[in-house]
Symmetry: C2
Subunit: 124 residues, 2 copies
DNA sequence: CCTAGTGTTATATTTTACTAGTACACTATA
DNA sequence: TATAGTGTACTAGTAAAATATAACACTAGG
């Protein structure tokens, strides 16, 4: 896994795991790889992995069973709820920032549309 | 001024000054308050102010005249260019994050629209 | 000239976030 | 009950950010 120096590794690990869950590669009830194994796979320290998992456990999205492993919660609504929360967080941040740059609501929407259209042409 | 612990103070100072410029409270050619005055106003150290201003000078958005003060550049296209750059930065970040949460391009646009609509009802 | 006001630079210190190493605690099972 | 596999906690090292303090450099005006 490639890490971006601008943001903490543990945060990127969380994002990675969120992504696995949102794309269904990690399903409710699934067991995660052992923390030491994850640490090896991601070439980071066990504590860095633990830091990420610890926060997700606090969020109620993972459950840890000492001696057994870490598991994705069976509480599916909790997962949906988390996703919505994460989306809202992102939207609030970008809205606040663009609003601070003196863009109107309409300009914010338009700029996002243009960005995505432009991005499509280039990549996909 | 209120600072958010999650992001460096010097960075928030930059954002504050950007905002002042984008909303026209700081116009091209305007003189900024003295660094020591800014430090007092913002209750931070002179070096922290200098760190923010230094980066903005490197960006070509501010000009410093030793013994006189710091001034907003007269190069208006540079300001426009910077604004576009800042907007793009925000859009790229939010797009990447929401895409990672498995939202399609259309869903991303829709969620932003809904967010703004909802926000309008509550506040304005 | 001298002085007050301005930006600039340098150094040391403190604080905090992040990461790492290591030892501890629990579970299953052979 | 021994052992391998698991999560957890404690402690320390590193780097970035912020501060404190001071000295330096330029400008304008008396």
């Amino acid at each position: 896994m490639q890490f971006d120096d601008k943001v903490p590794i543990y945060y990127q690990i969380k994002n990675y795991l969120y992504h696995e869950m949102m794309t269904g590669q990690l399903k409710p009830g699934d067991k995660l790889p052992a923390v030491r194994q994850l640490a090896v796979d991601l070439t980071v320290n066990v504590n860095t992995v633990q830091r990420a998992l610890g926060e997700m456990i606090t969020e109620g999205i993972l459950e840890s069973k000492r001696g057994k492993g870490n598991f994705v919660t069976m509480d599916e609504p909790r997962i949906t709820q988390l996703k919505e929360h994460l989306v809202m967080e992102q939207l609030e941040r970008v809205y606040e920032q663009l609003h601070a740059l003196n863009l109107t609501d309409e300009q914010i929407i338009e700029s996002l549309k243009r960005f995505i259209a432009q991005r499509r042409q280039q990549n996909d």
